[in-house]
Structures are given as structure tokens and as C-alpha cells.
Amino acid sequence: MMGMTEIVKTVAEWIKGFIIFYGLYIILQGHLSPGGGFAGGVIIACAFIMIELAFGGKRAETELDEHKSHNLDEIGALFFLFLGILGYFLPQIPFFANVIQLYWPGSPFHILSAGSIPLMNLAIGIKVGTGLYSVFTGLSHYDPLYQEEN
């Protein structure tokens, strides 16, 4: 992939931060307003995919390379599982119980409330975003047509 024209590159450079910021907003407000980890993660992945489409393959590698995205994918999955077994050693707590809400309930309608739900949204957002991005890099870099062109 060689990248697109100068107009597309300039516009992509400008709106890249806004798209990532919007994805973070959807992830972090997931327990207060519509949205959540999955949709926000997809939006963040779309920002990186847009960078790669506009500038070609080399540029997006400098911002989030393949090895780092695989590591973040696994960190997101393990963080979600860790939140599930958080109350394992406490008595009378089932699997995936909201332990933080039981012991430290925050004030409702604030961003620091609802216990482990925002943390789970964050874990799913990291996992989905980096997973989709690594699938995209896999499909575009290992494509036989791509190998022939370069």
C-alpha cells in the first residue's frame, strides 16, 4: 500500500486525535450513557486503520506496531479475567461478582462509580481495539497480492 494524496494525509493527521478521543469517551462513559467497551474499541481501531490507509503501511507501524498490539490484546483479556476472579478469596462471593461496588460503592452518575463495570469496559475496549487492528494488519500484510506488489 503506497498511501493516498496530500489532502487525505493532512485531514487524517488532523482528525486522528479526535477519533481516538471519541473512542475513549465512549469506553469511559459506558456505564453512564449508551456505548461501551466494544463500540469504543472498534472506533479506536478505526482511527489506526485510517492512519494506515492514508499513509501506507510503514507509518502506522511507528505508532502501534504488531508486537505491541498483540501484547495489549493479551493484557486486555487477562485484565478482564483478573476482574472476574477479584473476589475469589473473600467468603460468599461468586465468580464475576462486582466486589468493588460491594465494598467501596461510589456515588451514582459520576465517572468513578458502579464498581468494576468501567474497568471491565476499559479491558474490553483495549482487547477489541487492538484485536481488530492486528487482524487488519494481518490481512493486509500477509495478503499474497500485497506480496506480489512489493
Partner: protein
């Protein structure tokens, strides 16, 4: 009013699906798939499901178009050779007849379209709606259900996503490795 709009959007989606099936250019078909996904997203928004509308517009409209456009580098023009007339109509008719014959007793138990399903006091959905905010402290009840009450289901969903990404990447990498010695 909402029902008329939903029916109009459904008609739009059916016409778009016919375009997708009949069009020759692959890129036009993909863009038309995005339009169909947008129609479904507007239907979700009209029926009061903004969460689903956001996910639908993010996944189907943006990701599908971008992913297919990015991974296929040339516009492939293809026309299928075999037409529908070569397939015999009798097995399809028999299958449809058997399906409706077997599904008819079950369909009489279904609730009327648009009516709430589990209005029983002891059912879990009423419990979630009444006590969900008090227990979890999250105003968005969908987040409260999928991440607190049904967190185990979400773990399964995450495992499915993880396994599919792992499988796709390992297959693609295997093909790349097999291709490398022939190139060098």
C-alpha cells in the same frame, strides 16, 4: 409513525440486498452493504436501542467497508456463471414446507410483535430492571446486565474473539511462511 418508518427502512434494506446480489463491481456491493447496515442502525435507534445502534454503525458500516476496501487491492469484477434455473426447485420447496409445518405449533406460543416478553414477576429480567441500578450503581442498564449480572457470558464472548483472532493470524502467518522459500 415509528412502525411506518421501520417498514420503509426494511423495504430499503431489501432493495439494497437485491442490489448487492446483482451488482457486478465488488466495491459497489460493499458500499451497498454499508448502506444496509446503516438502515438497520436507524431501525435500532427508532426502536429505542441506542447501544445496539452505536455498535451496528461502528462494526458494519465503518469496519466492514474499511476492512474489505483495505485488504482487497483491486476491484474484482465477477459474475457467477450458474444461474438459479440449474438448481431444482423441488428440494427448496420441500424444505420450506417442512420448516413451516414443524414451526407452526411453536409459533402459536410466541408473544405478539412488540409486546414485552417476560413480564412474570419472578423472571430475572424484571429483577434486573427493578434492582439493577440499586445493586450495580450503573445508570446504563445494558452495561449493568452484560458486565455484572451476565459477566460470565461476556467472558465467553471475549474468549471467542480472542480465539478467532488467534486462528486468523496463525493461518495467515502459515501461508506467508510457506510462500517465503519459493520466493527466495
Amino acid at each position: 409513525m415509528i412502525e411506518i418508518a421501520v417498514l420503509f427502512l426494511l423495504l430499503f434494506m431489501i432493495v439494497g440486498m437485491l442490489f448487492v446480489l446483482e451488482i457486478e463491481n465488488l466495491l459497489s456491493a460493499v458500499v451497498m452493504m454499508g448502506a444496509i447496515g446503516f438502515g438497520l442502525s436507524v431501525i435500532f435507534l427508532l426502536l429505542g436501542a441506542p447501544d445496539l445502534a452505536i455498535v451496528q454503525i461502528a462494526v458494519e458500516v465503518i469496519s466492514l467497508v474499511i476492512l474489505i476496501r483495505a485488504t482487497i487491492h483491486r476491484d474484482i469484477k465477477e459474475k457467477a456463471d450458474e444461474s438459479l434455473s440449474q438448481v431444482s426447485a423441488i428440494p427448496i420447496l420441500v424444505c420450506l414446507l417442512l420448516f413451516f409445518l414443524l414451526i407452526y405449533p411453536a409459533m402459536s406460543f410466541l408473544p405478539v410483535f412488540g409486546s414485552p416478553v417476560f413480564m412474570n414477576y419472578y423472571s430475572s429480567s424484571i429483577y434486573y430492571l427493578q434492582e439493577g441500578f440499586k445493586i450495580t450503581g450503573a445508570p446504563n442498564i445494558i452495561s449493568a446486565i452484560i458486565l455484572d449480572f451476565r459477566g460470565y457470558d461476556t467472558l465467553g464472548e471475549a474468549i471467542v474473539l480472542f480465539t478467532s483472532i488467534l486462528g486468523a493470524l496463525s493461518i495467515l502467518r502459515y501461508r506467508n511462511k510457506k510462500k517465503e522459500p519459493s520466493e527466495s
